[in-house]
């Protein structure tokens, strides 16, 4: 399955991309699996995702816990805790 990943703030800067389409391996079922998989894609990803607990995730523009199933997500966003307001 192909999914669009979008990155924000220091996650975006460390990975070095705003967004990308990636092919998800069969065994990537949850958000947690996805973060673990991305960490294997290179040093930049490893730097961005070194502390998975600091990463917030949204599936199709809605907040998702790390235990949530990815299902047929079209867009998954990764970002740090929010600091607006």
């Amino acid at each position: 399955m192909t999914v669009k990943l979008v990155y924000f703030a220091w996650v975006r800067e460390r990975i070095g991309k705003n967004e990308e389409e990636i092919e998800l391996p069969q065994d990537v079922e949850t958000v947690r699996d996805l973060l673990a998989h991305l960490k294997t894609l290179g040093e930049d990803y490893e730097a961005a995702l070194a502390h998975p607990n600091a990463i917030r995730v949204a599936i199709n523009q809605e907040h998702a816990d790390h235990g949530e199933m990815i299902g047929n997500a079209r867009e998954i966003a990764l970002f740090p805790p929010m600091t607006g307001g």
């Binding site: 949204a58 523009q61 740090p80 929010m82 600091t83 607006g84 307001g85």
Partner: protein, 180 residues
């Protein structure tokens, strides 16, 4: 009495269309906003509003070291998330009108960042709704601040404050929230 109906409606229906029947004004914009204009837009021609509470968040420089902040946002999600927070407030309090505006882009100290206007028949609902919206906005609306400094120190992302998380949790003792 539509607001009362909203309060007792099924929370599962709250996501997009507030059961209160009040359509909040939600804007995510680069441009500044004007508090007086926005307040007038809510109260003009109405005789039933007894309380208007406004909150304005400004860009702050505590040590004369900040030249500006860069506010990054997730365009596809920001409006949606603000609308979701507004819908929860409309379910919880009998509001007459509600406006939430959040800016993005480069903002200098002293300039506006965010505006919440809650209007109701009585003050308590307006005070509490504005407070609630800010607590949830801080922790779940997809915006990120980056500091740009005058003195050449490294530009850096603002870290989330634990206090903001605790502030949000105040509201969860007697309320169902997807954020829990």
């Amino acid at each position: 009495m539509t607001a009362q109906q909203g309060k007792t409606a099924d929370p599962g229906l709250s996501q997009e269309a507030p059961a209160s029947g009040i359509e909040p004004t939600i804007r995510v914009q680069e441009d500044d906003f004007d508090l007086a204009d926005e307040t007038r837009a809510i109260t003009a021609g109405r005789r039933d509003i007894g309380a208007v509470v406004t909150f304005t968040g400004l860009c702050r420089d505590e040590n004369a070291s900040l030249s500006a902040i860069e506010l990054e946002h997730y365009p596809a999600m920001a409006q949606k998330e603000l609308r979701r927070i507004a819908a929860q407030a409309l379910m919880r309090w009998p509001l007459s009108a509600l406006t939430v505006i959040h800016r993005f882009g480069r903002i200098v100290p002293g300039d506006n960042i965010v505006l919440v206007i809650a209007a109701a028949r009585h003050r308590r609902a307006a005070f509490e709704a504005a407070d609630f919206i800010m607590d949830f906005l801080k922790t779940s609306a997809p915006f990120w601040k980056k500091d740009h400094r005058i003195d050449g120190r490294p530009v850096g992302w603002v870290e989330a404050r634990k206090q903001d998380e605790q502030d949000r949790q105040r509201w969860q003792t007697d309320q169902q929230d997807r954020q829990a």
